[in-house]
């Protein structure tokens, strides 16, 4: 009952956050206002007749067409510098030979031989630079909005006025071949089309070869007016190998041949445009072969927009007519052309800027009410977390009112839906969620205030200690500055380091690191409160330095944001397949496998140290045999993936089959391991039950089997102690080990053993989704969290009967570390930095039309650190109890203390470890609830700060480039983290339930 209410309450708090995020998002990330009006040849743009006076000529629309036919060759991700010659280098520096330079030599030749017939332009494009958005921009002339970036997997047809539509309505035959994204964008618009699947980025040749098969025959047949060929090979090569790979040179040479072939077949009335849709990091494209006019940029300008401000529109129209009149004049009098050209260009640029600014103004219109509502809801949820986390550790905390808000929320939602149904309005899910959240929030607040809050001063509601609060405030202030968001990859380790040193210094300051004799006599009254140090000073210092070192090493795996041109991304983030040198590749491969083995060995060592590995239960058998198998599978997959291109042709099938099977096998093994863990989570070696002589009877205040939970709670610790004594007696007879019993370790670490096993099982499939060398980061991640847990445990006193608390600094440092790992696994909160290849791990052939599976794989790759740290969050509560055994053992080592230890009461003498938690189940659940709420609070204020930053700075220059992506990543990260947190807490509760039933069985067996 208590468990269920804790989980339900946490889920409800998560729901509050989700409702807030959804409400804010619906107000902030608007889908762009799409106008379905189409311009026609009869309506000229702007007032008056066009200066060209082209109406009436055959085939003309607004102006006379200069070319009767166009060949548009789109080479995906063709960066501007790809078109540069090989010998272009900065004078004074040695010439660089890069694989992508000088391969498009036919363009250069044309530019040199026929300078009046060819032009090379560099164009800047607007983010997001994903293919579909760029296609939309190219064909509609609009600025694609941000929300479109999410629909890359399932693109939608363009309903706005666009180039293809105008061409077809003018009776031109448009033939298309290449990327099948066009099929979704312009369904049925082409007179003839050859589509090829675009999503498989591993495949460099299928699309290009398919196009080449049809390109020249179609061209020669003459049944076309506009021919569009969209090549994907360069883009896929960039995704797979990066621009510096020899493969890129091969691909570009192929493209060069294509251009060469096209130029040879070109007739005089045909325009050839070769363009890239976006770059790889810097964006560029170039057109060629014939003259391009300045007015070309204007052809999709559609003036039929209602929503623009009339005055500004008028101003723009005036500007345009003036510029076009100047242009006309310029054409007529070529004498002063040189002088007047700059002014015309300036005018046109001014016009374009004005039009762009106005478009942005009218598209990015925010719903302020929803944004404010969402922010308020987020703030309220944070407040609830704070309130409830304080309430949970108060002595007489009832679990019952936790269920109230859930019920009220349901009532509110149903009432709202009913209300809407009666007045027949469209049901908005976002609003429904918000109403449910508010209607459940208010009664809970009232209840909490009446039951607990009013009795206390407000100061206790704000319990975060000063230095931690300061660091948290810095962390939140980071979200309000675009430079800090960009530099967050460096700022987070800095803050984490500050946290770590703060923890060490605080430990020292509190006198917990040094024996008290070193300190001079403390003044009266304070000596009683200082606890004797549990560890020596060097211990915490070593932990701190080790943590700093790990953080710094993880920082070496750092991907640069696009905004900092000076910064160099770490070369270690790229997959091994993109490496050229064979020897270095082998060395790296060895290092990666070593990291894998080290991770495995560390987990096994840890489990052996606490004795859980000896248990014959299925999860531990799985750890012993299944985990090495998983590591083996991962290593084999890496070997295949990094050397797939070098395999001899007859082995190709085998290799591709294996690279499909191996990742799936590893994931399947992990899933079965997790299932085993859920089935039998108690990993304890049971040797009792064989009728061992009882040295002490269990004292029960009742006879017969236990009937209620209270009885069990009373009996269980006694049985436990009894068993311990029994084991110890046996061990002393065998004279094998010291005074500490093996059984104590096993039962004392039963919760964390399950957690660590689960985390390892989760980490392996996630590891597989990353590039090979990220495995070193994963090793660092485990090491780092291990050290941090130890450091935190050194500062958390064990309060024997409860209430147990997890201090704020622990939770904050944990959340910070999750963020830091997000960056050190090579991610950045921007869309171009998403690791798309993760979608092809285990699916080398692509996914067909399924979109959820690749989205899941890519999401798991991106938010791996969020997931791992959220699932591992309960370790923060468990670890101090684990460390208890160490502290005690260390203290028992000096022989003089032996007399002391005998005098001590029994439970002091033997570490009960995590069984202390079982001694007070009420406190245990309250502590879990509190831990979950605190973690949600820390994550929640981050998302709140992001939302506030995005709404306050919504007219900022960087809002779509920095703040909006950051908000989206934080929001998704929050969802992943909250789900992971719920899973982690549910796992602990599952173990708890299993331990209870195990005790019950034992008890019954003893009675027999």
């Amino acid at each position: 009952m208590q468990k269920a209410s804790v989980l339900l309450f946490l889920a409800w708090v998560c729901f509050l956050f989700y409702a807030g995020i959804a409400l804010f998002t619906s107000g902030f990330l608007l889908t762009r206002l799409e106008l379905t009006n189409h311009s026609s040849c009869q309506e000229p743009p702007g007032p008056g007749s066009l200066p060209w006076g082209s109406q009436g000529k055959p085939g003309a629309c607004w102006m006379a067409s200069r070319f009767s036919r166009v060949v548009l060759v789109l080479i995906d991700a063709l960066r501007f510098d790809f078109a540069q010659p090989q010998h272009s280098h900065v004078p004074g520096e040695p010439p660089v030979s890069l694989p992508f330079l000088g391969k498009l030599s036919s363009l250069q030749r044309i530019l040199e031989i026929q300078p009046h017939h060819a032009r090379l332009y560099r164009s800047q494009v607007d983010p997001p630079t994903t293919t579909m958005q760029r296609l939309k921009a190219l064909t509609t002339g609009s600025l694609p909005t941000f929300i479109d970036a999410g629909s890359n997997f399932a693109s939608h047809a363009i309903v706005e006025d666009n180039l293809i539509k105008q061409l077809t309505s003018a009776g031109r035959r448009v033939v298309f071949m290449g990327d099948d994204t066009w099929k979704d964008l312009f369904p049925g618009a082409f007179s003839k089309a050859f589509f090829f699947p675009s999503f498989n980025v591993r495949d460099l040749d299928t699309v290009d070869n398919g196009i080449l098969e049809h390109l020249y025959p179609t061209m020669d047949s003459g049944e076309w007016d506009v021919l569009i060929a969209h090549f994907l090979g360069v883009d896929h090569c960039g995704h797979k190998h990066g621009p510096h790979h020899p493969e890129m040179a091969k691909k570009l040479s192929q493209m060069d041949q294509v251009i060469q072939g096209l130029v040879e077949r070109l007739e005089n009335d045909t325009l050839l445009v070769v363009a890239g849709d976006h770059g790889m990091t810097t964006n560029g494209d170039h057109g060629g072969d014939s003259e391009l006019e300045v007015s070309r940029f204007l052809h999709t300008y559609s003036a039929a927009t209602r929503d623009l401000q009339a005055k500004e529109l008028h101003q723009l129209q005036n500007l345009f007519s003036k510029a076009s009149a100047d242009y006309q004049w310029l054409l007529q009098s070529p004498r002063g052309a040189e002088a007047t050209l700059p002014t015309v260009i300036a005018e046109l640029q001014q016009f374009l800027r004005g039009a762009r600014a106005m478009c942005i103004e009218s598209w990015a219109r925010f719903s302020l009410v929803r944004m404010a509502g969402g922010t308020a809801l987020l703030a309220a949820s944070c407040f609830i977390c704070l309130l409830a986390s304080q309430w949970a550790i108060s002595p007489g905390f009832p679990f019952r009112p936790l269920l109230i808000p859930v019920a009220w929320g349901l009532v509110g939602a149903i009432a709202y839906a009913g209300l809407l149904g009666t007045i027949e309005l469209k049901l908005d899910l976002v609003l429904l969620g918000a109403v449910a959240a508010v209607s459940s929030f208010l009664p809970f607040l009232w209840k909490a205030w009446a039951g607990w809050g009013s009795k206390r001063p407000l100061a206790t509601l704000f319990p975060i200690p000063g230095p931690v609060l300061l660091l948290l405030l810095f962390r939140l202030a980071v979200f309000f500055s675009d430079s800090f968001v960009v530099a967050e990859a460096r700022a987070t380790p800095f803050l984490l380091g500050s946290f770590i040193l703060l923890l060490v210094v605080q430990l020292h300051w509190e006198g917990q690191l040094l024996p008290p004799k070193l300190l001079t006599m403390p003044r009266l009254g304070t000596s009683a409160t200082t606890n004797p140090p549990r560890h020596n000073g060097a211990y915490a210092l070593r932990l701190g330095i080790g943590l700093l070192l790990c953080t710094r090493l993880a920082g070496l795996f750092h991907r640069c944001p696009e905004e900092t041109p000076v910064c160099q991304s770490s070369p270690w983030l790229s997959p091994l397949a993109s490496m050229v040198g064979g020897r270095a590749k082998n060395l790296w491969y060895g290092a990666c496998v070593a990291a894998l083995v080290a991770l495995l060995a560390a987990v096994r060592l840890w489990l052996r140290r606490y004795g859980n590995l000896k248990s014959p239960e299925p999860p531990m058998l799985f750890v012993r045999w299944g985990l090495p198998l998983m590591a083996l599978g991962t290593a084999a997959y890496w070997a295949l993936a990094s050397g797939a291109d070098e395999a001899p042709p007859r082995l190709r099938v085998l290799v591709s089959g294996a690279s499909m099977v191996l990742p799936r096998a590893v994931a399947g093994l992990a899933a079965s391991g997790l299932a085993l863990l859920l089935w039998k989570p108690v990993t304890v070696l049971v040797k009792a039950g064989a009728g061992a002589p009882r040295t002490r009877t269990v004292l029960t205040p009742f006879s017969g089997p236990p009937t209620s939970q209270a009885d069990l709670d009373y009996v269980v610790p006694q049985i436990y102690r009894h068993m311990q004594e029994e084991f110890r007696g046996r061990l002393e007879r065998a004279k094998s080990q010291g005074p500490l019993t093996v059984a104590a370790y096993q039962l004392g670490s039963v919760y964390s053993a399950a957690m660590v096993t689960a985390l390892t099982l989760l980490a392996f499939p996630l590891l597989l989704l990353h590039a090979e060398r990220i495995s070193l980061v994963f090793l660092l991640l485990f090491l780092q969290s291990f050290l941090l847990l130890h450091l935190l445990a050194a500062g958390i006193p064990i309060t024997t009967p409860g209430p147990f608390t997890v201090p704020w600094q622990a939770v904050s440092a944990w959340a910070l570390m999750a963020t830091q790992t997000f960056y050190s696994t090579g991610h950045q909160p921007v869309f171009p930095a998403i690791h798309w290849h993760a979608a092809f791990v285990g699916f080398p052939e692509g996914h067909g039309s399924r979109t959820w599976l690749p989205a899941l794989l890519v999401g798991a790759n991106t938010f791996a650190s969020h997931l791992l740290f959220a699932v591992g969050c309960p370790l923060l509560l468990l670890w101090p109890f684990l460390c208890e055994s160490q502290g005690l053992r260390k203290r028992q080592q000096p022989p003089g203390n032996e007399a002391d230890s005998r005098v001590r009461p029994e439970e002091e003498e033997e570490p009960l470890m995590e069984m202390r938690l079982r001694d007070g189940p009420h406190h245990f659940y309250a502590a879990l609830l509190q831990l979950g709420l605190k973690y949600l609070f820390i994550l929640g204020i981050q998302i709140l700060a992001c939302a506030l930053a995005a709404s306050i700075l919504r007219r900022h220059l960087m809002v779509w480039k920095v703040f909006a992506p950051k908000f989206i990543f934080e929001a998704v990260g929050f969802v992943v983290s909250s789900v992971g947190l719920l899973l982690g807490i549910a796992l602990v509760m599952r173990v708890d339930g299993a331990v209870s039933s195990w005790f019950r069985q034992l008890f019954l067996a003893q009675q027999r």
Binding site: F474, S481, D482, S483, F484, V486, A487, R490, A491, P493, F494, G497, S498, H508, W509, E510, G511, L514, L518, L519, T520, M521, P522, R523, L524, G525, T526, G537, I545, L548, L549, T551, R552, G555
Partner: protein, 240 residues
């Protein structure tokens, strides 16, 4: 910090008055020494421009770092020799003094290197700008380690005692605590504006940090006498 929980007992009244007067003179001496330290830092900004051409804090930052740390160290040493805040040293043979001095030098160097390592761990570049990072470590040592060495001697246990709760035994140690902590906090705060895109010349590693440390040190020098004066009633030290 040292909170005031215990009040002077009545029969110690006379003693308390003596203590108070003693403390007042001590606070005055403290204030003067601190003013001298601040003065030395100001001098380190202005004096070199008389002798060196093109001297400015930002452009010839490394020179200034050397000069400033030299000035601060010298002033601290002179003040230690003149004021003698701790008179505990009983053995005063020459060899003892020499070994003590050598030990102090070694401690100073070690603190420089360990600060350097900590900066690198905090994210400072490992290979580039190594000299700059090291000089930052030197100036931070001059602000923190040198006063510690002067006051407490090469005695790590005493250092650890001073920098823990209730470990302070005199106003000198109290002010040492405050100036050291404020220097560290200043250096930490100095790192914060580096990522901002204001494009100022002082936003470069390690200039903002050294400036922050200097400001923190000066602030600590100003604050500590005031703070001690303000709380003089509550402060009771065992040894005084």
């Amino acid at each position: 910090m040292v909170g005031g929980s215990s009040s002077p007992l009545p029969f110690r009244g006379r003693l308390a008055i003596q203590e108070n007067t003693m403390k007042d003179t001590d606070i005055k001496r403290l204030l003067y020494t601190h003013l001298l330290c601040i003065f030395s830092i100001i001098l380190s900004v202005f004096i070199p421009s008389l002798f060196l051409e093109n001297f400015s804090i930002l452009e010839t930052h490394l020179t200034w770092l050397c000069i400033c740390s030299g000035f601060v160290t010298a002033v601290n040493l002179v003040l230690y020799l003149v004021v003698k805040p701790n008179t505990s040293s009983k053995r005063s043979s020459l060899s003892h003094k020499v070994t003590r001095f050598l030990k102090c030098c070694i401690y100073f160097l070690m603190s420089c290197f360990s600060f350097h390592v900590i900066f690198v761990l905090y994210g400072a570049p490992l290979i580039e700008l190594a000299l700059e990072t090291f000089l930052f470590a030197v100036i931070l040592s001059a602000f923190t380690t040198v006063p510690c060495l002067c006051l407490l001697g090469p005695n790590l246990k005493a250092w650890l005692r001073v920098f823990s709760r209730n470990g302070v035994t005199s106003i000198w140690e109290n002010s040492l605590q405050i100036t050291t902590i404020s220097s560290f906090v200043g250096a930490w705060l100095g790192a914060l504006p580096i990522p901002l895109d204001w494009e100022r010349p002082w936003q470069v590693w390690p200039i903002s940090c050294t400036l922050g440390a200097t400001f923190g040190y000066v602030a600590g020098l100003v604050i500590s006498p005031l703070w001690i004066y303000w709380n003089r009633k509550q402060l009771t030290y065992k040894n005084n």
